[in-house]
Amino acid sequence: MQFDVNETLAGMMGAMQKQFSKDWPLIKSAAHQFLQARILRLALLAELRLTGQLSSAFFAERMKDEQLLLQSELHAITIVTLAAAQRAARAALQVFTRAVNKALPI
């Protein structure tokens, strides 16, 4: 059987798109969770500072910590995205392997 490059590539792209659309909610959910946590955290911090329950020094330290948290959250989103890319690439390779096996004369 003949090996059709264009058909195989189209199949691979399709498999990748399908896998990515399956993983997309995971990426969105991670970003949403981080955003929600940040809103709640900053609201708590503001409320406690405004009611005089936190010193300005304590408040300033937590603002510095926000940078580290943001950095960690961005790394986590990178990992979730890379995991999705890995699954998509494996799905594409599977399509490719199947196409090659099908084209091989037995």
Binding site: Q17, L48, L69, A76, T78, L82, A83, L93
Partner: protein, 187 residues
């Protein structure tokens, strides 16, 4: 031999997409390209590009290649993270329940030391894993924040207030969350 194969999904250069009808053409990085409507895709790769991809794929296929961008999911490590995060959270739950005379650092020093050891152990396990580059900064931030909160507790001249403990607890829960979400994404 395990070759790290970088497929179309993470092709590092911008790819230009042409719409067959009237919509404008544009360039994007390829992971985003996968989310585009299919109408944009057909003319995106030249014949040379297709050949390069196929050569790479054949190379991969015959050298037992597997696409590896992140480490494999590790259930026992995930469990260890959950347990350590829970022990860390428990310190602040107990501090919130304790009256002001029972909030001295000395009463919690052993528990802090235990958690610090666990964090270090998790860090070492991650260092030994392949494709760990995005995980290590998250762990370093956990270590930094844990030690910072511990030092602040130790150096506090009076007892920690309810408000301060609540804030420490919130930040503690949130600095573990990225690691838990990231490890969970590997399943």
């Amino acid at each position: 031999m395990l070759i790290q194969f970088i497929p179309i999904a993470i092709y590092p250069l911008p790819i230009t997409f042409h719409h067959p009808h009237s919509l404008p053409s544009f360039s994007v990085f390829s992971p985003i390209a996968l989310l585009l409507p299919p109408a944009y895709l057909p003319r995106s790769y030249s014949t040379t590009m297709k050949r390069i991809i196929l050569v790479l794929l054949f190379g991969c296929l015959f050298s037992s290649c597997s696409v590896t961008l992140v480490p494999e999911y590790n259930a026992s490590l995930y469990q260890k993270i959950v347990t350590t995060a829970a022990r860390n959270d428990r310190i602040y739950i107990d501090l919130l329940q304790a009256d002001t005379t029972h909030r001295a650092f000395s009463q919690y020093a052993k528990r802090y030391a235990g958690i610090e050891t666990s964090i270090q152990s998790i860090y070492l396990q991650y260092q030994a894993r392949a494709n760990n580059s995005a995980f290590l900064p998250i762990l370093e931030n956990i270590q930094t924040l844990f030690l910072k909160f511990k030092t602040e507790h130790k150096q506090h001249t009076s007892a920690l207030t309810q408000a301060e403990i609540k804030v420490y607890q919130t930040y503690t829960r949130d600095y573990w969350k990225p690691l838990l979400i990231a490890e969970n994404a590997l399943r």
